[in-house]
């Protein structure tokens, strides 16, 4: 198996958001430093948002608990 960094680069190159979510979550879990873990969680959350990944809500909730994110605002009506 490729090292995670190479997998990340490959997923970025392919624009594979779902793979990026998984790889950044793995990177966060493997990190012993809270700030580094939050950096990776942030990336996982961004790509999860982009592809409507099933982990999106959980990732956001984690970041909110850490004081690094805020809850979503309610939807906006169209401007007619």
């Amino acid at each position: 198996m490729m090292p995670r960094d190479e997998q990340l680069l490959a997923a970025h190159a392919e624009g594979d958001s779902a793979a990026l979510v998984d790889l950044y979550m793995q990177a966060a879990e493997a990190s012993l430093d809270a700030n580094k873990a939050a950096f990776f969680l942030t990336h996982a959350h961004v790509f999860a948002l982009e592809c409507a990944h099933p982990s999106t809500d959980a990732l956001r909730a984690t970041l909110i608990r850490q004081g690094r994110e805020t809850p979503l605002a309610p939807p906006l009506p169209p401007r007619r």
Binding site: A37, V46, L76, P78
Partner: protein, 386 residues
Amino acid sequence: MSTTTADLSHVRQPIAQANGLPNAHYIDAGVFAEERDAVLFRSWAGLAVSADVPEIGDAVPVTFLGMPLLVVRDKNAEVRVFQNTCRHRGMILVDAPRKIEGAIRCPYHSWCYSTDGRLVSTPHVGGPGQNTHEGIDRALLGLVEIRSHIWMDVIFVNVSGDAAPFEHVHADLLKRWAEFDKPLYHGGSDSRFDLTVNCNWKLAVENYCESYHLPWVHPDLNIYSRLEDHYHIENAGKYSGQGTWVYRQLEGSEGAKFPDFAALSDTWDTAAEYITVYPNVLMGVHRDHTFAIILVPQGPEKTVEKIHLYYAQPATDTALRARNTDQWKRVFEEDIFVVEGMQRGRHAPYFDGGRFSPAMDGPTHMFHDWVAAQMERHRAVPQAAE
């Protein structure tokens, strides 16, 4: 650029005395920019059609008069129009049509927006791993949404944001065509085409509005639809066009026809109408199909006509639909030499805007008068402030 303050009072005279808009309104970059603000941005201008974004998450970037816009069908199936720029560094968000699965992610620093325009993520905005900052109020930094209204599948936008509501501005037209205010089904890929014409967008309107040219430019129509079978449609300050009493349905090899729209009154058995919804949407209604032509100005002397045909039911005969598209394409192509010829004519320095036939050019003069009125209103604002 020298004619931006040309006197338009002669345009606003009664048709028997009026001249058309001066040459500068067709060839001058300064007047083009002024018309953009006064005529196209302050009114309800046609931008695209809902059929461009048929499914939830569909996103199509559109450049309208230099303005980068994004048409999106959001998660609640509402069609919206946004400025296609990130609130962070102004980066273009979506540069080609695509499906938004979740959020719109800016490719630069990954600020993310929901399809209803909310700013939902600002990664590292407060430093690495810190995604909020007291100086960044997401509630104030959603995508800039452009006011929009959808009618007969056309997405109209009011860029300035201060026009009266569409249903008020066009109340008369909505009433006139109320019988067609029902589901319209785009014919699909074989029922849309673009024509690029080397003329100012207004010349396409002016030609469309009148029936005077039909026997000369579209001689095929003489076979069944003579000049005297047409009538003017005139509603000053709102819309104008032409109608015919002798619309004849297209027939397939075994007499097959398109299905009619439900519950139409008898008038529409043989009537058809062709109206310009000011400023830039040319529409036609018939018992069995409608069409919309959105004029997208590319500059003072170039316009893209985006044509869409609609039917009363989602599934129609493919071959007949193709014939209908071809028939209309031929008619619209027959008009190209006229609008391009008039465009070249606008470089003749002694052309004075021309005189109208008082009997035959009413709908065209009405459009000139409306454009002139918008220009006068626009010019009155800075003058009053002085």
